[in-house]
Symmetry: C2
Amino acid sequence: MTLAAEPLLTALAAVVGTDRVLTNPADLAPYETDWRGHFKGKALCAVLPGSTAEVAETLRLCAQAGVAVVPQGGRTGLVGGGVPNDAGTAVVLNLARMNKVRSLDAMAMTIAVDAGITLAAARQHAATAQLNLPILIGSEGSAQIGGVIGTNAGGSNVLRYGMTRNLVMGLEVVLPDGRIWNGMRALTKDNTGYALRHLFIGSEGTLGIVTGAVLQLVPEPQRTTTAFCPVVDISSALSLLDSLRRAHFDALVAFEYISAATVALIAKYRPELASTLSVTTETGDCLLIEFAHMRASEEADAAIEADLGIAFENGWLTDALIASSETQRKAMWAFREAISFAQNDAGYSVKNDVSVPVARIPDLLSEATTAVAAVTPLAQPICYGHLGDGNIHFNFSPATPEVSGELRALEPAIVAALNSVVQSLDGSFSAEHGIGQAKVETLAKFRAGMELELMRAIKTLLDPDNRMNPGKVV
Amino acid sequence: MTLAAEPLLTALAAVVGTDRVLTNPADLAPYETDWRGHFKGKALCAVLPGSTAEVAETLRLCAQAGVAVVPQGGRTGLVGGGVPNDAGTAVVLNLARMNKVRSLDAMAMTIAVDAGITLAAARQHAATAQLNLPILIGSEGSAQIGGVIGTNAGGSNVLRYGMTRNLVMGLEVVLPDGRIWNGMRALTKDNTGYALRHLFIGSEGTLGIVTGAVLQLVPEPQRTTTAFCPVVDISSALSLLDSLRRAHFDALVAFEYISAATVALIAKYRPELASTLSVTTETGDCLLIEFAHMRASEEADAAIEADLGIAFENGWLTDALIASSETQRKAMWAFREAISFAQNDAGYSVKNDVSVPVARIPDLLSEATTAVAAVTPLAQPICYGHLGDGNIHFNFSPATPEVSGELRALEPAIVAALNSVVQSLDGSFSAEHGIGQAKVETLAKFRAGMELELMRAIKTLLDPDNRMNPGKVV
């Protein structure tokens, strides 16, 4: 801490309370890293405001002092977006204390919340009115709504409900200079000028700080149908996707792909999960498919079963297991969620999160595999993800755990080879994880030209001194 | 035309061809007004470019000459957004010649089009792949996709599919200086920086010109169920809405309200349409409800019938007619669409397009009726609209046709009284029609402060010389 910082710390303490300005290294440490401990930085302090007014005053003081601000949610992001850089001069702003539901409108199916509430808490509150906040991500217990909005979170229900962006009706935002924009409207239709909220959604705290939000809810489904299906190959998987979307568009909430190599990895490192589903290292590509029905309907169940039967007869599927109990359903999702753990067991892994138009997924899988094989024979593709959204987590594990170090050294070349293929297929190098600090250079490369220029102009307009989450996104 | 304009006209002709720069008053006239002839202006010329490159070159030349540009679609808007002002110095840019489908991806359910294609033509092309572009507006035969996107069009299926914004995946935009932004990506998930497309959607051509778009399609429904229901009162209508949304959320595509006075107006001026539905001037409030099913299902039909039966038993409905044929369905919609014509027959009408959170609709109806009655006893509220979206076309007809002139003179006071009530209920003074030239002052009043300031800053950033559709929106 420099002497010059003292007056700012004193002023901040006067706003939020002395014990809510953390400077002691031990207190500060959790705020200087992410959940996985993958990114680390140094902050001047962490400030824990308790209201929008306190956030505004904090930002005003930081603007006056010319000090950078790093907004932070549950720190569950994967690209270091909420972690300060190494300078030790930034103020980390964590909204964990702003965790209230402001109101719930059961008739309009909307909920207004503070940005610091966790996704799980917001979902639980919605459930008290038999409503559902349909953003399904594994980190919901820690992830705060502000972070979910700031990163435009995706997850497992995007196929049916879209990205977080689609569910945000209104926002309250504190701008870099401390002024408050109250855009907490709860209107389905409001064509009164530019869509300011969409600027802030997905901007990862680089344009302002989301302090409140109005979110669209949906009714809780009455019945869920879940199927686990070994599939002949990726093009059969796409044929099935097309057929199921056309027949069950409204109900189809998840269509997850797990490649043969990924299935084999789970079977090897998590055999207990594999055996429950009669899966072995030889099973091949698998699909996890889920339908959510607003009305419990035996007819719908029968239609799904019939359609999976046709897929089997068409030679697309080698088997189809429909969950007959919640236990069985959980076993299917446990298999899907075991991928990260199995990858950890297999050594260091290179992680990616790419998307292409759905029909180009087979090209993506084959071309990127070839391109990375040309870089190194040590990288084994471990591909899985939200096939229905064209979103593949195109990861690489070491051929054997012993070559983890070599794989890590080759990471930049591997990622570059993959991203080139993605770009050639009109895809995105970051489908749902965002940019943070990890992909700033990739953005500058693949969005170069007009797009980057426009983004930088917007950044300069709203944050002329580049104090909001500097070093992130653009 | 001034002498100074000559070199620009010559240069434009060199770009698009002499016969595509219209200056002859007779040729130019249609481009200087809207569909209804409600707004009129004067242009220097109308330019009809045939490609994005020609649009870019046109904008570059206009920038060089410091000349204003008014982008124009099918001129079906209701707020004069595509009509030039009276100066006679602006270049009207109409994209009617850019009317091609660029590509259709049946697997991803996306369509890429030129911005000048009509909504109807785009919908027809989607239908060749048994897909649906679910934007339902009466003007689809004339409205161009560029205008639909520029105004973020609403319509009758917003309840299920959201505003146009929700269906736009990618855009191609020519900026005021003639540079082209190619954002024609067709990705469900793409978290790579700021959401530029959302700036242009709904900006009514004030920030740039949309020349191409990628739109999300959905499967064509296999079966439609339509019901026409006299309802006891507005709170019964909301009870029914809540019950149907919870049970049939995925299928409910339209929930339209027609007030008792509006029903009586149709019964009076369009008796043949009313009698088909056994409606009289005494019938009272009515609802038009539509469900679209991806799978034809007798079970779903039975469930809808049962739920309407319960609504009758609950004392919410006084009757419920379910269309038993396409003819009957069309009769129901014809009744709904007859409102504008019946209003025309009743004399001059003051038209509004407001929204509030759904639960506040009863307050809106009663409070605004009282507020306007205090302005004049001559204005009869004619309320109808997309109740499911909280969107009411809160119009006023003269108590008798003879007082049309007096009503017209009172229009500003009537609209002001209504908008004050809307604002007090956290609503919007323009739900789907936008701002154009008609509501610029209203926007400046009701979005004053931070919101207007941010909009103006964005306008200045992208169009520093205020040459794009000047006098519109902000």
